[in-house]
Amino acid sequence: MDPVTSPAVVPSGLLLAGSVAALAGALWLLLPKASDTVGSRRIGFLLGALALVGFAATGRTLGCVGEDAVFLTVAGIAVVSGLATIVTRSPVYSAIWFAMALAGVSGVLLVLGAQFLGVATIVVYAGAILVMFLFVLMLAQPSGMAPYDRVSNEPMLAAAAGAVLLGLLTLSIGRLSAAEPPACCRMPSRAQAAAGSTADTGGSSIAPAGVDGVKDDGDEVAHLGAELFGRHLFAVEVAGVLLLVALVGAIAVVSRGEATETDHRREGR
């Protein structure tokens, strides 16, 4: 009924190495460079698609990606949009692609069963932070594409380093799932330990079935709120102070910058 019990496999080395190499090549070809041509970017897109398929296949050996079509879709949106965020020349397009990546990440969080965070990602990130980015871009964007948007620092080294890091992370994730049989080594949660129930239901992920029947009863937001304002109340207060300090600091920096500018003007610089 559930693929949890099938032992996860360490991803085969050849597939992983091929995916890493394809990703490094794709990143190198796609990142902005002075010597860019349309052909090299096309090859980069092809290699990127290849790397995506490779890593998806690695995930399939890790678990079973193909069974959860919703997860596959939203994860694909997040990853492809993330790639487009870092390789797009125009910063405005970059921000828009980042919004798409946020939508994908929000979908991943929803599939994982974190409803509040899925919605908060859209509301806070895409609704507030990204709009702030776009405002700053509109204030500060020189007309046309700036030359520094069409070159990048050390694209080959950075692409290789990022791809190798991703390969190592994938390897360690594979080791983790191979070393830790999922059914028996779950760390019991506090509520679960308190209830003394270890019944493993392991149902579908979208409607969390719950371990003790009390905690995951679909009232996820209420439980998160109780946890946040119960055990972590002091941290919430500190976060409020942090927001206030950031607000005051931002305004102070802006007004001081304007003051020095007017001072310079008054001095007849």
Partner: protein, 147 residues
């Protein structure tokens, strides 16, 4: 609780997002794009935290992600102010415009080959202005070609 397969796949997605953001922040030179890449790395970490939180049935990871959101908002506000100030001083959003702040023994970044001109002019969407009478043919003024 989520099955272990979903956990590993979500961890993989988080790792991919983190590495993409890392490559972006290492290579891109636009300050705002570097910032977007940092936010992309934060998203990868958030996915990882939520996956572990759901796997263990513990709320700590999700609470931590709530604070990550808070700190990201503060960080974006403060840092964008600094970016705007930097732009007001140099007129560029280029990180290399501030390489006078580098260490003493580091070489200077010099753009040897800049891309030659703007060969691709972006085509922006446009709307024809409303309320303007199109230049018409006088002899056919009374005909209505459509209703």
């Amino acid at each position: 609780m989520i099955p272990a397969t979903l956990l590993t796949n979500a961890l993989l997605v988080g790792a991919v997002l983190f590495c993409l953001g890392l490559v972006g922040i290492l290579t891109r030179r636009n300050l705002i794009v570097m910032f977007l890449c940092a936010e992309l790395m934060l998203q990868g970490v958030s996915v990882t935290l939520v996956a572990w939180s759901r796997y263990h049935g513990d709320w700590g990871g999700q609470v931590l992600v709530v604070f990550v959101l808070t700190v990201a908002a503060c960080e974006a506000a403060v840092a964008l102010v600094f970016v705007l100030q930097a732009f007001a001083r140099t007129g560029r959003l280029d990180a290399s415009a501030w390489q006078a702040l580098r260490e003493e023994n580091l070489p200077r970044v010099i753009d040897r080959e800049l891309p030659a001109g703007d060969n691709v002019v972006p085509t922006w969407p446009s709307l024809s202005p409303a309320g303007v009478t199109p230049p018409g043919d006088e002899s056919r003024a009374l005909e209505r070609d459509h209703v």
